[in-house]
C-alpha cells in the first residue's frame, strides 16, 4: 500500500514561502511526476514528503496516517537522489544492503534480497565493485536498487536522470517506468523536463511558484490546460499565444494554438500571414518559426518534410476545434 495525501502542506524558510499550501491525492501504485521550472518548489515538496524537511503547516498522510512528525526512515519511503548519493567506500552490495543492515535484518536475508534486487536491475556482475568503478547508468541503477530493496510504500525520485547523457536518459526512462509498473509501487518523480513528465507519468502535477497549477493525466494537461502557465509549459515546441484582434473574435483575452494544430498554407490568403524566419528540417518533422507581424513570432509544426525555407511567405490556419481560450487572469475558458 502506498497512498499519499497532502492536505494544505506549507513550507517556508524564514520569511520566504516555498510551498504555499499544496493539496494532493496520490493513489496507490500510481506514477506521479512533479514538474515545473527551476525554483518552483517541486524538490522541496518531495523532501517534505520524504521527511528530510519539516513542514511549516498542513498534513502529510501516508495510508491515512499523518506522518508529519515521523522521522524519514519510519515513513516507509525510499528516495533516489539527483547525485545518486552512493556510499563511495562501500561495494554495490554494501550500498544496496545498507538500509536492511540498519534495520537489523539477518545477514543471509540481506544477501538474498540484495541479490534479488541486483538481478532485477542487471547488476549481478557488479555486486562487488565500488561505485567509482561503475558507469553513470550503472550508478543510477545501484541508487534505484538501494530504493527497491527495502520494499517501500513509495519511491521518491529527485531528478534522477539529469546527470545522464541523452541516449541513456531515454533508456533509463523506459527502465524506470517498466520497473515501477512491474513492482506496482507508488512513485513520485521530480523533473524539470516536461518530456520525461509526459512519457513516464500516470498523473502530472505542474508546480509554479510554490503552487500546484494543475493535477491530471498527461493528455488531460495537453488537451485541457487549466491556465496559461500549464498551456505554455506542457508540450514541445511551446504553444503559440495570440492576443488582440484574433483573441477578441473568440471572446477571450488570449488564445493559444499548439504548433501542431496550425495548418501551413503556401499561398493561402486566409489565416495568419507571415514570413518564415527559421525553418528546421528534421526529416520526421518540420518546424517553422514564422514572423507574423503584429501577432509576434509563431511556431508551426508539420509532420513530415515540407519544402519551405527562410524568407518564404506562408499563412497559418489554426484548427478551430483546438484553440484554447484564456481570460485576463490567464485561466482557461471552457465551452
Amino acid at each position: 500500500m502506498g497512498q499519499i495525501t497532502l492536505q494544505g502542506v506549507q513550507k517556508s524558510f524564514g520569511p520566504v514561502h516555498i510551498i504555499k499550501g499544496a493539496d494532493l491525492d496520490i493513489a496507490d501504485g500510481s506514477f506521479v511526476v512533479f514538474v515545473g521550472p527551476s525554483g518552483c518548489g517541486k524538490t522541496t515538496l518531495l523532501r517534505l514528503i520524504a521527511g528530510l524537511e519539516d513542514v511549516s503547516g498542513g498534513k502529510i498522510l501516508i495510508d491515512g496516517k499523518n506522518v508529519v512528525d515521523t522521522p524519514p526512515a519510519k515513513r516507509g519511503l525510499s528516495m533516489v537522489f539527483q547525485s545518486y548519493a552512493l556510499y563511495p567506500h562501500m561495494s554495490v552490495r554494501g550500498n544496496i544492503g545498507f538500509g536492511l543492515k540498519m534495520a537489523g535484518l539477518p545477514k543471509d536475508e540481506i544477501n538474498r534480497k540484495v541479490e534479488a534486487a541486483a538481478a532485477t536491475l542487471n547488476l549481478t556482475p557488479y555486486l562487488d565493485r565500488k561505485p567509482r568503478e561503475l558507469s553513470g547508468g550503472q550508478r543510477q541503477r545501484v541508487a534505484i536498487g538501494r530504493a527497491i530493496v527495502r520494499e517501500p510504500k513509495a519511491f521518491l525520485f529527485d531528478e534522477p536522470l539529469s546527470n545522464l547523457d541523452a541516449a541513456l536518459r531515454v533508456q533509463m526512462r523506459i527502465e524506470v517506468t517498466r520497473l515501477q509498473k512491474q513492482l506496482g509501487t507508488t512513485a513520485i518523480y521530480v523533473t524539470h523536463d516536461q518530456v520525461e513528465a509526459m512519457t513516464m507519468a500516470d498523473k502530472i502535477v505542474v508546480l509554479n511558484g510554490g503552487k500546484i497549477e494543475q493535477y491530471g493525466s498527461p493528455l488531460e494537461l495537453y488537451e485541457r490546460p487549466a491556465n496559461l502557465f500549464v498551456a505554455g509549459f506542457i508540450g514541445s515546441p511551446r504553444m503559440n499565444f495570440v492576443t488582440g484582434e484574433p483573441a477578441l473574435q473568440k471572446a477571450a483575452a488570449t488564445i493559444g494554438v499548439r504548433p501542431e494544430h496550425l495548418k501551413i498554407e503556401r499561398d493561402g490568403a486566409g489565416g495568419w500571414q507571415g514570413t518564415i524566419a527559421v525553418a528546421e528540417h528534421l526529416g520526421s518533422d518540420t518546424f517553422l518559426y514564422v514572423d507574423a507581424g503584429p501577432l509576434g513570432m509563431l511556431t508551426a509544426r508539420y509532420i513530415g518534410e515540407l519544402s519551405l525555407h527562410a524568407g518564404d511567405r506562408v499563412s497559418l490556419v489554426p484548427d478551430p476545434a483546438r484553440i484554447h481560450r484564456f481570460d485576463e487572469s490567464g485561466n482557461a475558458l471552457r465551452g
Binding site: 526512515a73 519511503l77 525510499s78 537522489f81 548519493a85 552512493l86 563511495p88 538501494r146 527495502r150
Partner: protein, 302 residues
C-alpha cells in the same frame, strides 16, 4: 613531472626547445635547493667520521665508524628512541581522537562559529617555545600553576608534572599544539562530505552513530592519513618543548633523539658523535616514513 625527467620519445623540435628553456629556467632554483641540502649533508657525513670535540680543538682525526658505534651503543640512545616513539604515537593518537569530535562540533551551526574556529586554531600560531613556557609556568607549575590551584580546590595534592609524569606532560603540551592542525584538516574534510549521502543514510534508517561509523568515518580516512603523515614528520623532531620544560630529564625520561643529538653536540661538545646521531635520526625517520606509507598510505590512492 615524470615526463620532464624521463622524456619518453623523440619530441618535435618546438617541444624540445620548450623543454630546454624550461630546464634552464628551473636550474637556478633546483641548483640552489640541491646545494642547500647537499652541503650540510656532506659536512655531516664528513664530521661523523672524525674525532671532533670542541673542548679539544685541533685534535681532529679520522676514526671511521667509531662515532656511530659510540652513539648506537650509548644506553641513552635506546631510551631516547623509545621516548621518541612514545611521544609520536601518543600525540598522533590524542590529536586524532580529540580532533574528530572537535571537528564534528565545529561543523555544527552555532552562533559565533567563526570566532570559535579562530580560537580553536589559535594554539597552532603560538611558537613552541612560548607555549612550552606558558604551560610550564602558568599551568603545570606545582606551586603557582593553574592545575595546582584546581587540585587544591578539591583538596588534592598538586601534581608535579615535570617530575612525576615528565613525558606525559610533554605529550600534553605537544598535543595541545597539534590538535588545531588535526581539527582543521578534519573539519575541512567534514565540510566536503556530500549532504545527500547523509540524507540517504537518514532515509536508510541509520542513526546518528551509525551514520558516523559507516559514512563519516570512512570519509575521514584520507584526511586522517594526511594528518598522521604530516604530524609524524614534525613530531619526530620535537625539541623546543623539551628544551624549555624538562631539559630532557629527569634522567633521560624526556630525552628524544633530537634532544640527544643536541646534548651530544652542545652539552658534551662532541661534534663527531652528534653528526653520527643526526645521520641515525635521518635513517630512523626514513624507516618510520616507510612503514607509515605502507600502513596508511593506501588511503591516499584515489
Amino acid at each position: 613531472m615524470a615526463a620532464f625527467f624521463f622524456p619518453a620519445e623523440e619530441k618535435p623540435v618546438a617541444t624540445r626547445q620548450t623543454q630546454f628553456l624550461a630546464r634552464s629556467l628551473l636550474s637556478p632554483a633546483v641548483g640552489l635547493l640541491f646545494i642547500w641540502m647537499i652541503v650540510p649533508l656532506a659536512l655531516t657525513i664528513y664530521f661523523s667520521t672524525l674525532h671532533y670535540s670542541l673542548l679539544d680543538p685541533g685534535s681532529e682525526s679520522f676514526v671511521g665508524l667509531e662515532n656511530f658505534r659510540y652513539f648506537l651503543t650509548d644506553p641513552a640512545f635506546l631510551a631516547s628512541l623509545q621516548n621518541t616513539l612514545v611521544l609520536v604515537g601518543s600525540v598522533l593518537a590524542l590529536t586524532i581522537l580529540l580532533g574528530i569530535p572537535l571537528a564534528l562540533l565545529m561543523d555544527q551551526p552555532v552562533i559565533g562559529r567563526n570566532f570559535v574556529r579562530l580560537m580553536v586554531i589559535a594554539p597552532f600560531f603560538v611558537m613552541p617555545t612560548v607555549s612550552a613556557l606558558v604551560w610550564k609556568n602558568l599551568l603545570m607549575h606545582p606551586v603557582s600553576g593553574l592545575f595546582a590551584w584546581l587540585a587544591s580546590l578539591f583538596g588534592l595534592t598538586p601534581i608535579d608534572w615535570f617530575n612525576d609524569v615528565p613525558l606525559f606532560a610533554v605529550i600534553l603540551i605537544v598535543t595541545w599544539q597539534w590538535l588545531p592542525f588535526a581539527t582543521l584538516i578534519l573539519l575541512t574534510a567534514l565540510q566536503s562530505l556530500d549532504e545527500e549521502q547523509k540524507e540517504a543514510a537518514e532515509m536508510d534508517g541509520a542513526s546518528a552513530v551509525s551514520t558516523f561509523i559507516y559514512i563519516t568515518l570512512p570519509h575521514l580516512a584520507r584526511p586522517i592519513t594526511v594528518v598522521i603523515l604530516i604530524e609524524t614528520i614534525f613530531l619526530l623532531t620535537v625539541f623546543a618543548e623539551i628544551f624549555v620544560t624538562t631539559g630532557g630529564g629527569p634522567g633521560l625520561q624526556t630525552t628524544n633523539i633530537a634532544f640527544l643529538i643536541y646534548s651530544q653536540a652542545l652539552i658534551q661538545f662532541d661534534v663527531g658523535s652528534a653528526s653520527a646521531g643526526g645521520l641515525v635520526a635521518v635513517v630512523i625517520a626514513n624507516i618510520v616514513a616507510f612503514f607509515l606509507v605502507r600502513i596508511v598510505g593506501r588511503n591516499l590512492e584515489a
